[in-house]
Amino acid sequence: MDCVEQTDTNAEAPSVIDRYFTRWYRADMKGKPCEDHCILQHSNRICVVTLAETHPILQDGRTIKSINYQISNGCSRLNNKVSGKSKRGGQFLTDFAPLCRITCSDETEYTIYSCIRGRLLEVNENILETPDLLLEKPSTEGYIAVILPKFEESKSITENLLTQEEFEKRVSERPRSQRS
């Protein structure tokens, strides 16, 4: 019977991400060691781009100096606007489209990329005011951007990405010096 009431309040319930999203990873983005990205894909195909826990920005108690969505003179992700159900007008992104540049207080700069093809729906403006969100909750409130893949590409866009299992294996194979 599928109507049995279950109120097992002691069990640790799966988190929101576990319930509705699949985690995909891009390791060593553009050949830069440990610049790992994590893509959360909702069952409705919407993708949230986040920093993987292993990203250098999140290591060694670093702090963020600035986050810049202005990726070139002519293009700022902050100007992105979509309208209507069909999300007209959003910037179209390819795998290696930069989303933002993050500068740490030690002046190292990192570029965060889209990792998947799709239409940019929104960027997270909350992290501009509160950069610590990025450090404290990188996979939820500290997300970078929301992307809507094309309907017909919603399966194929993750083909080049690693599954959680593959990613964990990849991380465990890294030389000790690269691991946190």
Binding site: A13, N44, V82, L121, T140, L148
Partner: protein
């Protein structure tokens, strides 16, 4: 006696020679006496012929009787050799004096062949297809449908090319009709549809044992005729009026009746006559009647439903065309209703909707259904109550109350209420940090908390991205244990509760995580009430 006037004579003569049937002749005489169409067409024809020849005789009598007889004899012998259409073609080239005589001759020939001839204008619709035999067929189809009805309206669908033929025939007698009455136009010609209905309504009514066939009824019986042989009649119009015939997604052919009528309004008489014979050419076959279509107008049903199950979607849940759950609220409710009303299908709508894992308790959620083509439509209050019982006995996952028949207009009350009314919920909340009962009491004091909700990621694929302001009017808490409590909420309709609790990546602000300064999540959600006062409650 047909109420015809002297000035109808040239019209009748011209039309009979052109190969028009008796009823079509009456139509072009703008005769709107229904009884004239009801009488057998053979009789009408005889009367018409008598009418034109009698006048002819009285006219010719002025010269000499023998001459008159001669001309009759000559005409009769002459026409044995050739069909009247030849005569009709010759007519315009002949001298005006001769034409009258020839017309009379053609009329007589017509008498001989009239049984086998299909009318050039109505393509047989007002001939063999408009009589007791056809009425019996219609009545049989209606009886077979086993509908419950007091009255019916007869609707007729004609092939589009009939308009072209009608136009051609109109141009043929335009001058004569104008002479009959200055104010008469093409619109005064009785339409084939009208003539058909005037003739058939009484016959169909009789076959159905005295059911009233009226002009407005909730039960429609549709008769359709096609005539593939002459479908190409319309095609020349596409060249002269290409903008009238744009290919449409749903229609099989661009030559719809509407498009053809529009094109005929635009085209000049000269251009029409260049491309189309006037009068129209003789067809070799009569129209084909299609299956009789019976359609009862929709019946609307409303009520409230409870959903007691956390694995039941409101509507069938399909992913990539495959079913995710075996049933749904709407299917459980609809099945008994469809079989009681013997309807072909339904459209379900409700005042908002709940997720698959959310229960709807209390008085339930208002819903309404449009029942398509119901074969039965009248139910007493007692019968509706029994139907409700049947639904409730069929499943323990749902329950229905206040089930009633409503009007189409009343359904809008439900959608009006959707945005402005309030809804009450109960949620089981998990907190990451341990809590004590006093840690959550402050929540009870929060009143009219306005949220800024970005369209939840969960629905962003089908809703526009926006920040919507929604108000939580009040909340109350019940402590369960160090990581759990029950949260009651009374909110403005359209508030996303799950996102208020977990925050949706910080996209709903403020959220429960911020209020409690710890991660929170929602484990269970129930709708306790949907405060829309429609449909009216029905005492059990």
């Amino acid at each position: 006696m047909l109420p015809l006037k002297e000035k109808d004579k040239p019209i009748i003569q011209k039309l009979l020679s052109a190969g028009c049937c008796a009823r079509c002749v009456l139509r072009f005489c703008c005769l709107s006496v229904h009884a004239a169409y009801r009488q057998p067409p053979q009789e009408t024809l005889k009367e018409l012929q008598a009418f034109v020849t009698e006048k002819e005789s009285s006219k010719v009598q002025h010269s000499s009787t023998t001459e008159n007889n001669k001309s009759h004899d000559a005409a009769a012998s002459e026409t044995l050799g050739g069909p009247p259409s030849k005569r009709a073609k010759l007519e315009p080239s002949e001298a005006a004096a001769e034409s009258e005589e020839n017309a009379a001759a053609a009329v007589i020939t017509w008498r001989n062949e009239e049984e086998s001839r299909v009318c050039v204008v109505c393509l047989g619709i007002l001939q063999g297809l408009c009589g007791a035999e056809q009425a019996a067929k219609i009545a049989e189809a209606v009886k077979k449908g086993n509908y419950e009805f007091d009255t019916l309206v007869l609707s007729v669908s004609l092939p589009a090319q009939l308009c072209v033929r009608e136009h051609s025939c109109w141009l043929h007698v335009k001058k004569e009709v104008r002479e009959k009455g200055l104010a008469l136009t093409k619109d005064d010609v009785i339409q084939v549809k009208e003539a058909f209905k005037w003739t058939m309504q009484g016959l169909v009514a009789k076959q159905l044992g005295g059911i009233a066939v009226v002009t407005k009824s909730s039960f429609e019986v549709g008769v359709e005729f096609t005539h593939p042989e002459t479908d190409s009649d319309c095609h020349f119009l596409a060249k002269s009026c290409p903008d009238c015939f744009k290919p449409t997604k749903n229609k099989q052919s661009a030559f719809t009746r509407m498009a053809v009528v529009k094109a005929l309004e635009k085209i000049s008489d000269a251009k029409f006559l260049e491309h189309y014979p006037c009068p129209p050419a003789h067809p070799s076959s009569s129209c084909t009647p299609q299956d009789v279509q019976c359609l009862h107008v929709s019946v609307f049903i409303a009520g409230r439903y409870n959903k007691f199950c956390r694995s039941l979607p409101q509507t069938p849940w399909l992913i990539d065309g495959e079913r995710r759950m075996e049933s749904s609220v709407e299917e459980l409710i609809a099945a008994p209703i469809l079989s009681a009303f013997r309807a072909d299908g339904f459209n379900f709508s409700s005042s908002g909707r709940e997720d698959v894992d959310v229960r709807t308790l209390g008085n339930g959620r208002p819903f309404a259904m449009e029942l398509l083509n119901p074969h039965r439509s009248r139910f007493s209050k007692v019968e509706m109550m029994q139907l409700q019982e049947t639904i409730n006995k069929s499943s323990d996952k749902i329950r229905v109350r206040d089930l009633q028949i409503v009007t189409r207009e009343a359904m809008s009350h439900m959608k009006e209420g959707e945005e402005e009314k309030t809804k009450s919920y109960r949620a089981l909340i998990w907190t990451q940090k341990p809590i004590q009962s006093e840690d959550i009491t402050f929540i009870d004091d929060i009143k009219d908390l306005t949220l800024d909700q970005k369209t939840p990621l969960r629905v962003l694929h089908r809703r526009a991205l926006a920040i919507r302001q929604r108000v939580i009017h009040s909340m109350n808490t019940r402590f369960v244990d160090s990581h759990h409590f029950y949260l009651g909420l009374k909110t403005q309709a359209g508030t996303y509760i799950k996102e208020f609790v977990h925050g949706d990546f910080g996209r709903t602000k403020p959220n429960m995580c911020q209020l409690l300064k710890t991660d929170t999540d929602i484990l269970e959600l129930d709708v306790e009430s949907v405060d829309v006062d429609w449909p009216p409650a029905i005492p059990e």
